[in-house]
Amino acid sequence: MNVHRPHPAPGRPLAAAEGLVDVDIHPRPRSLSDYDPWLSAEMRHRLHTYGNRPRHGFVRGTPFFKAQPLASRRDAWPPGGGTPASDPDFVARQHLDFHGVDVGVLNPLQPSGQGDVNNAFSAAMAHAVNEWQLAHWVARDARLRASVVVPYEDPAASAVEIRKRAGDRRFCQVLLMSRTSHPLGNPKYWPIFEAACEAGLPIGIHAFGYSGWPMTNGGWPSFYIEEVSEHATSCQSLVNSLVIEGVFERFRGLRIVLIECGFAWLPSLAWRLDRHWPTLRDELPHIRRAPSEQIREHIWVSTQPIEEPPRPEQLLDTLEWIGWDKVLYASDYPHWDFDDPRHALPAFIPEARRAAIFGGNARALYGF
């Protein structure tokens, strides 16, 4: 993707002069049987008899009703039947063609088997979901790229899945969920980071996932709004853990993309860590670079949801701190909190910065 000419797409923002890359599209299967061709007879039996079993009590669904059915735009249900973003032709028509998306990153969420209580099942599902992304999506639309779905609670099996996909340009990143059963920097997960670095793939960490722990450190909240705003706190624990355990010192080439996690909390976490680190560093001889330096070098963020403070300079300051080259446009299609690219970035962000966020940054990161 080297040459850009203006698209005739009616929904493409004018500022997307360096291409329009959407780093957060959520494909769904029409039914669980879509995965059958890539599952063994035993795993097919497990899937259809027992289903996915996340590490929380709400086995048949999510703990909260997510604003709209299947958390999706109500106009995203394909006219030909099926669930939102299960029909590649309709995804192309409603989103990729209409908004003039040049490259779209697929992030399959549940039912994908990630974080399942049965590690072997989780690994089998990850393999099947990855094959399904290639056959059902990437092969049918050259604009789409797959994510390597991994059974992240079984890091050894995850590393096997990542190495299997290494060098295949149809995959652009490894996909994890933000809520894991241990803080993500725990050495338990290091085989995932090692394999991703070896494959030259960034790691996209998408908000949500069900770890078995309540989603706030005070227990289970009462309302969905508490869950969607809780990502700011659980992602702070995640970043804290990656920095302090020394993940970025050990894996110097590691690139982390925080997807749908918000980002205004990131500078304040870094300031707090930078304040504590000089006095507590005796316990952390493995940390050589200031936490803020690690965060700014290794972490990218996506725009949906973007913080919307009433005073523009507050958002500009935040983005300046994170790094204008570290911010990526995301639509979250087909979900209810989808961001239309024409409205996602406020006009007070300088045009060249918006161009980078819409396309240039993602192209540099993923090599599109």
């Binding site: 735009r73 106009d75 409205h343």
Partner: protein
């Protein structure tokens, strides 16, 4: 500018109709025999309001006390679930500053509409919006 939406029977109570006229997309609702017209474009990101579900209004004077009323009179955007009062176009969360454009709608007798380009029958009642 006046636009004839159609015979009243076309939009039964609780029903709606999307019309395109004079360069605007407008959705017309029937609330128990009264007609209201709103722009089809959500003021937030432009979601198609005509595809949104309607609901009632849960109000709460304080935590723990709730009342449900006005069933069918609150429209929810199909994208980000912003809510609007069909009678006024005003949003639930910031009625003063955030609203969807509302247009006057009424019922008129066919005989009063003879001069319109829309073919009408004298004995029929029609829904009319002012755009």
């Amino acid at each position: 500018m006046r636009h004839v939406v159609g015979p009243v029977e076309e939009i039964p109570p609780g029903g709606r109709k999307l019309v395109e006229a004079h360069g605007r997309r407008v959705v017309v609702f029937n609330l128990g025999g009264e007609f209201f017209a709103l722009s089809d474009r959500c003021p937030h990101q432009g979601g198609p309001l005509s595809q949104g579900p309607v609901m009632g209004l849960v109000e709460s004077p304080c935590p723990g006390e709730y009342r449900y009323g006005r069933p069918g009179e609150i429209l929810r955007c199909p994208w980000h679930a912003w809510e609007f009062d069909i009678r006024t176009g005003r949003s639930r969360f910031d009625p003063r500053r955030m609203k969807v454009r509302a247009f006057p709608a009424c019922v008129e007798k066919g005989e009063a509409l003879q001069a319109e380009t829309f073919p009408v029958r004298v004995e029929q009642d029609y829904v009319v919006v002012e755009l």
